[in-house]
Symmetry: C2
Subunit: 192 residues, 2 copies
DNA sequence: GGCCTGCTTGAACGAACATTCAAGCAAAAC
DNA sequence: GTTTTGCTTGAATGTTCGTTCAAGCAGGCC
């Protein structure tokens, strides 16, 4: 018997790039074939169909995101400082050429029709990220406050993921974060 | 010569509903034909192509949005109170069945490829809305502060337009707004 | 060595896509 | 009343879509 001759993670990584950039509907299987280097038959055997590959790409993207957040919040400077770093890195991303918001948010908006399973998958992944912030915040304050603050963080993240398309918006976003999340230990040196 | 036998505004309004719900790529001309009641030939004569109709829909949606904001901020209770009302009405919208974020934001994210003219059109419309808030705020405070506050409002609006998909998020959004925009005259009676 | 198993290949499929255009038609112009 | 003008019709166009599948192929197993 022959084992799969491709690296599944690498294929999924390429799929993330394609789907993240163009969205679900605007990514054709022809583009997928080109981006992954696989032939149609191999893709359909390994992932069942376009939706299966997309689902796996969304999963992998979400895992990366959660890992990055966990690592930052588990870091030596503590939870609150870690949150600041995560938020600042998102601002940083928005200044780079080819900035593309967040794959989960784009998917949630694109496939927002009621009951669409990919929309719901993206929503649940975003919920998990909010739950992640909440669980870390519960080390710092009581449960209800932690939940409210996690929601407030998500609202600001969502805002930045859209506002980031505006050129030269980084400074404005930094100011807004300091105003909207005053309980975070902002470093004024960051505020160039 | 025969004049157009359809009501252009009505057609555009139907196009808004379709494109707003499904996005640009996932709306087929067949669906457009059904939604508008026009035959393909009439659509192509009147709007040139799918992109032309979409552009006109985006224009009309943006005009409606700006008008609603202007009316609220010109209202008898003053600019700041008007802003509160606009924001509260957005929270209200998110609680309704079939909630669908904001057409401009969805378009900006869906067609985010560098240089896409529809992406840029949506971006410029969002900029105009920010400029609208700024011009009204300049009646209340100095220019630089007005600009910063307008940006902060937009960030919160963007956040709500995404966070609103989460069930039962209305109360959390109200709290976040009061915390993030403390210079607005919030009515505690609204805070059920 | 010869069979089996299961991945790979890529041409082919029907369906759906955006768009076109010749023919039909009705109101305006004279 | 006749001609002209320009919107409407809807079948047809060529392309691209997601997906399938028979044939090819190569390592694992006896």
């Amino acid at each position: 018997m022959a084992k799969a001759q491709f690296d599944r993670d690498e294929v999924v990584e390429n799929a993330i790039q394609l789907f993240w950039q163009h969205g679900y509907s605007a990514s054709s299987m022809q583009q997928v074939v080109k981006a992954t280097g696989l032939q149609p038959g191999s893709i359909y055997l390994a992932f069942k169909n376009k939706e299966g590959l997309f689902r796996e790409a969304l999963d992998a993207y979400s895992d990366h995101s959660k890992k990055r957040i966990k690592d930052a919040l588990d870091g030596p400077d503590g939870v609150l400082k870690g949150i600041c770093k995560v938020l600042e890195s998102m601002i940083e991303q928005s200044t780079q050429a080819g900035y593309n918001s967040c794959f989960l948010i784009k998917t949630q908006l694109e496939l927002a029709a009621e009951g669409n399973t990919l929309h719901e998958l993206a929503s649940s992944k975003l919920d998990e990220i909010e739950a992640l912030f909440r669980s870390f915040l519960e080390k710092e304050c009581e449960a209800e406050l932690a939940q409210q603050r996690a929601a407030c963080i998500m609202l600001h993240i969502f805002g930045m993921r859209v506002y980031g398309y505006k050129p030269d918006s980084a400074q404005r976003m930094r100011e807004s974060l300091r105003l909207g999340l005053p309980w975070l230990p902002w470093d004024d040196n960051d505020e160039r």
